[in-house]
């Protein structure tokens, strides 16, 4: 076992009387894609923000490649739910700005790299548009390109598709899926269970600031034994059950059956949004 790429030890974060992270241990190997799931308020986003150094810890420590990362040192990149593109800059300028100011590339060099990155997320033809002139999915892809351009060693995705409609979600998830295939180490907070199940190599279920389940993604979804995780997944499967059947079975109460069964073999793990 090699030393973990990312090591989070006994992470604690407390704000006033609220315990947001209650002793989280997480170690991630290089190239792993870890899906973080859990109910709202379980600490998923806080965990990412603490790893990125955006929120201060009240206990524990984070090591990336053995060192404590500091925001902006180029180790950790983050993609936000709200995209956080800068509205007064074009897509290309959004990607190029840090290349010029931080990487000290020339204006032309930064523009070139930015266009390469936009091409990678399929948005080269929108390079001169401002965020307001792009769809949510396109904005998020620009945000991903902006993060990638700085060549981070670890990318944190904080509910990257939570404010997108199903179609736009798919185009963003495809980009993240492509990144996973390149061997990028990633932590993805997502409510897209199907996506987590299919892309993540590992799934971590959080509740009340603790890790309740941590294991290979497929096992976590299929053999969900932890009661809180089962309840959590059941609510998702209920929603999936309302999707139109590809080949409607006649006369059988498919929907009820689906709901009643625990997650297992043959269950539609992918949400209809993800195009199961």
């Amino acid at each position: 076992m090699t030393a973990p790429f990312l090591l989070a030890e006994k992470l604690e974060r407390r704000v006033g009387d609220t315990q947001i992270l209650a002793g989280i241990d997480l170690s991630v190997q290089k190239g792993e894609v870890v899906g973080l799931i859990g109910p709202s308020g379980s600490g998923k986003s806080s965990l990412l923000r603490c790893i990125a150094g955006l929120d201060p810890l009240t206990g524990g420590r984070v090591l990336v490649e053995g060192r404590t990362p500091s925001p902006g040192d180029g180790t950790v990149g983050m993609v936000f739910q709200q995209f956080n593109l800068w509205p007064h800059l074009t897509a290309q300028e959004n990607v190029a700005l840090a290349l010029r100011l931080v990487r000290k590339l020339s204006r032309a060099g930064a523009a070139d790299s930015a266009r390469t990155m936009l091409d990678r997320v399929g948005l080269l033809k929108f390079a001169d548009r401002r965020p307001a002139q792009l769809s949510g999915g396109q904005q998020q892809r620009v945000a991903i390109a902006r993060t990638l351009a700085m060549e981070p060693r670890l990318i944190l995705f904080d509910e990257p598709t939570a404010s997108l409609d199903p179609e736009l979600t798919t185009e963003v998830l495809d980009v993240i899926r492509g990144l996973a295939e390149t061997g990028m180490t990633m932590l993805v907070v997502s409510h897209e269970m199907g996506f987590v199940a299919s892309v993540a190599s590992r799934a971590v279920f959080l509740d009340h600031g603790r890790v309740l389940v941590d294991g290979p993604a497929k096992a976590v979804f299929r053999d969900a034994e932890e009661p809180r995780l089962r309840r959590f997944l059941a609510t998702y499967l209920q929603r999936v059950a309302w999707a139109p059947e590809p080949e409607p079975a006649t006369g059988s109460p498919v929907l009820l059956e689906t709901v009643a069964n625990p997650p297992g073999e043959g269950m539609p793990l992918t949400s209809p949004e993800a195009g199961a």
Binding site: N84, W86, L97, L101, R130
Partner: protein
């Protein structure tokens, strides 16, 4: 010489100084206002607390009293200024307090995520301020800044009391000498109003320019 030509002469003599002190104070106030807002927004809490108190004091005392204090009280603390310098300084301090609040509102209105994204990408705070936050807020703070600039034009009239030979000083001098108070005051009112209209027009032009630069709209 009749009242009309005398009044016009007085306008011509006073106007350059009014415009000059006003522009200088607006420039100083904008610059210092940005700095104060940055220090309050990004600095440690103590800096914020001290600056907040200073802003409250400046906003809490009538400008005429501040001008008096600076010009007549200055010499007691070794600050022996000419009327024009005292006038510029007083108006600049006054402008800084109000401008800083506008910029502070601008900072607060920008989603924190825009700053966090910049921070994670490695931009320094000063780069984030100049390259992202200020351009991003430019369009939304401009009306409030223009509003203040217009108010400051009219506050320059107060400087006549500390003997700055600006518009109100020169024109009301004609009034006192000729007893044609109504006519001279009317000329004075008209002059300020024209200045204000000109400023408002410039602000509208600037607003379109900023919109083009930051939103890409024609």
């Amino acid at each position: 010489m009749n009242v009309v030509t005398e009044t016009l002469g007085a306008v011509a003599r006073g106007l350059p100084l009014t415009v000059g002190i006003w522009l200088a104070s607006v420039a100083t106030g904008l610059l210092a206002g940005v700095l104060v807002a940055c220090a309050r927004h990004f600095g440690p809490w103590l800096v914020n607390a001290v600056l907040a108190m200073l802003v409250e004091i400046v906003r809490g005392v009538p400008f005429v009293v501040q001008a008096f204090l600076l010009y007549y009280g200055g010499p007691f603390i070794g600050l022996d200024l000419t009327p024009i310098l005292a006038g510029w300084l007083a108006l600049s301090i006054y402008a800084t307090a109000y401008f800083s609040e506008v910029f502070r509102a601008g900072f607060l209105a920008i989603p924190p995520g825009h700053t966090e994204a910049a921070r994670l990408l490695g931009l320094r705070t000063n780069q984030t301020i100049t390259r992202i936050l200020l351009p991003e807020m430019a369009l939304s703070v401009l009306p409030a800044l223009a509003n203040l600039a217009v108010i400051l034009i009219k506050e320059t009239a107060i400087l006549s009391i500390i003997t700055v030979p600006e518009l109100t000083f020169t024109v009301s001098g004609v009034g006192s000498a000729t007893f044609a108070f109504a006519q001279t005051v009317a000329a004075l009112a008209l002059s300020y109003w024209l200045l204000v209209e000109l400023t408002a027009y410039a602000a509208r032009r600037l607003e379109r320019g900023i919109a083009r630069a930051t939103l890409g709209t024609a």
